[in-house]
Amino acid sequence: MKKIFSITAIVLFFSIQTGFAEPLGLPPVPIPADNPQSKAKIALGEKLFNDPRFSSTGDVSCATCHDAAKGFADGPLKTSEGIKGLTGTRNAPTILNAAFMKSQFWDGREPDLEGQSKGPFINPVEMGLENHDPILTLVRDDRAYWKMFRKVFGLKKKNALTMDHVAKAIASFERTIISGNSPFDHYYFTNNKAAMTPSAVRGFNVFLEQGRCVSCHTVSQTHALFTDSRFHNLNVNFNSISGGVQALAKRQQQEKADGVDLDVSILTDKAVAELGRFVVTGQWRDIGAFKTPTLRNVDLTAPYMHDGSIKTLEDVVDFYNNGGFVKAGDPVNSFQSGGIRPLGLNDTQKADLVAFLKMLTSPLN
């Protein structure tokens, strides 16, 4: 019986994949063995993603901060606004192609989309619920939801419906929020030389060579995700904590050992948020290090960086060209990644690089 079920799941999966062909420039979406895609599950996930009833105030959904019209982010906000206009410490990354990331969040504290999707509901500055119970009550009692869950997961009894099912459905939906097919993809993967402007073509070359971007924002012969899913300290706002790193790190590791929820301390404590990957691993090499974001659709998702501190792509390019700061004279911290150094780009090269970044926008489906 179990066997038959998994076979139907695979069949469905393939029918979906043939339904929308993989966008140009992307590898196949990795699908975990224990959460196969199905059309009904994706539809359920989409409904959950857009439903504001899962917040304490009834007006915040995932889509509030990951808005399709804003490239699945929430520009022009620097840091996201959840219930009652409360703001967190971090800029909302796009959900587009999050399915390809080897870990989730700027610091990778969740290994996968399933794990990630449980967090926002109970974050005090996001959807503000005390715990997951109200969600379960709602999806069990709401007739439309219960019907969908029953069908998708083959559930018999209402109390068999758990947060894992909610998480799986949302994750399945997120695995369809993928985007390729940009002018760059046509230029590079179908050899359509007219797909990018001459300035962008030169900019791509800067991206690969003098700009040294490609080692972190990866491109390969067959696809381009523009992220290595690794963590790097670029010197974005690290100076705000560099005076007291030792005490701060000690306090954070102690809080973690005492069982304080990481999601909460990161999104409510500005200083802790700047520790980056360190909060997860406790290793100095990860201090102030953040996950390389994708650059696809980056033109749509200003402002930039984990704290939204850089307003424009021009400023981002200046930041890299200077070796890790926008304002001349800002210090570079000692923990900065060995991948960052002054680049010596001239004004034309900088403009070309920005022109290239604007070629990574996918058409709206």
């Binding site: 000690k250 406790g282 150094r341």
Partner: protein
């Protein structure tokens, strides 16, 4: 935080990996006599390189700055920091001064070992004027600590072959330069060493710091000390001897008789392992599990520094590697040699080679 007592420590063979593995979370061992345990940081091979005017190679500067910043975060505070040599690339005053300036940000007491890159421009004159003696010993919490200048070579090579110090330094700075000469500790220092150890009881733990390996590993790149067996013979009678050396810019560890050997990383750049040179034989310790190849894009890849726990004379060496998984190599009392517990299946027992 977990407390490991001495008995469990001995049972697990003396090696252990601390939970979150960093200086910050450095778990103190609850020893019978805690006062005899201590930690120190070991930074080496920064190769500060002068371009011109006030410009220095940024890559190497960043390596040393990072090591200093991390060592300053160590908790508990290390008893001291040992600098393993090759602070400069061409031994100039500019380079040494710039290196000492970066080192001056360290909050801990610092000792220095002489490297060939610090020495051959002026035969160590400027370095000595800033640091002091080139070889010396001191006692620390029951451990006898010895620093040697192991990068000397024969007088003829040193004094008669070269037009000037710059030329001599240039030749010695080329690791693979066939005009170079093998390193040695030399008769004078060996005599001093034998003398220094006269009053030391055989059960006193001994730690020796040198720049070159005090072993004969690979002559081509001077992973070599020509009178290694003579120096080893002086140290062999003692129950517990640990030698720390720089120069090789890679992880190596070995055991020869009573002597445990540990190399330290460079903060500047990593070197290939000798087996990657197809045209010459090497005698690398079979024990060593090498580090994986580096990605030169990430300038700190395969570079780093160490902090060392001395547990009643035996060293547990923890590598702080900025682009690699951290590693811990500790003395395995049951086997009688150092071991990286994580990769234990990949190492073979040691060979007996100088």
């Amino acid at each position: 935080m977990s407390i490991i007592n001495r008995r469990t420590l001995l049972k697990t063979g003396g090696t252990f990996v601390a939970g979150a593995c960093l200086p910050l979370t450095n778990i103190r061992l609850a020893f019978a006599d805690q006062s005899q345990d201590f930690t120190f940081a070991y930074i080496s091979d920064s190769h500060i390189q002068h371009i011109k005017g006030t410009k220095f190679v940024r890559n190497w500067d960043q390596g040393l700055k990072r090591a200093v910043a991390e060592a300053n975060l160590m908790s508990p505070k290390p008893d001291f920091v040992m600098y393993g040599g090759d602070l400069a690339q061409l031994g100039t005053r500019e380079e040494l001064d710039h290196g000492f300036e970066i080192m001056s940000a360290l909050k801990h007491k610092t000792h220095y070992v002489m490297g060939e890159h610090d020495y051959y421009a002026d035969l160590g004159e400027y370095w000595s004027s800033q640091v002091g003696k080139q070889y010396y010993s001191f006692d620390h919490k029951g451990v006898h600590i010895i620093v040697l200048n192991s990068i000397l070579t024969d007088d003829h090579w040193t004094h008669e072959r070269w037009a000037n110090g710059t030329e001599r330094m240039g030749v010695m700075a080329g690791l693979d330069d066939p005009r170079g000469s093998p390193f040695m500790v030399g008769a004078a220092q060996r005599k001093w060493l034998a003398n220094d150890l006269k009053g030391v009881s055989k059960d006193t733990p001994i730690i020796v710091f040198s720049h070159s390996p005090l072993q004969k590993l690979f002559k081509n790149w001077n992973f070599w000390t020509d009178d290694a067996e003579l120096v080893q013979a002086i140290l062999q009678p003692f129950d517990s001897v640990t030698v720390f050396y720089g120069h090789v810019h890679q992880i190596q560890y070995n055991q020869i008789g009573n002597i445990t050997f540990h190399s330290v990383m460079a903060t500047a750049w990593p070197w290939p392992y000798p087996e990657s040179y197809a045209q010459a034989e090497n005698h690398m310790p079979h024990l060593t599990v090498p580090i994986n190849r580096a990605d030169p894009f990430f300038e700190r890849d395969a570079t780093g520094w160490q902090y060392v726990d001395i547990n009643s004379g035996k060293a547990t060496v923890k590598f702080s590697l900025t682009e690699n998984e951290p590693r811990t190599v500790g003395y395995d009392a049951k086997r009688g040699y150092p071991l990286d517990t994580k990769y234990v299946s990949r190492s073979k027992p040691p060979q007996n080679h100088y």
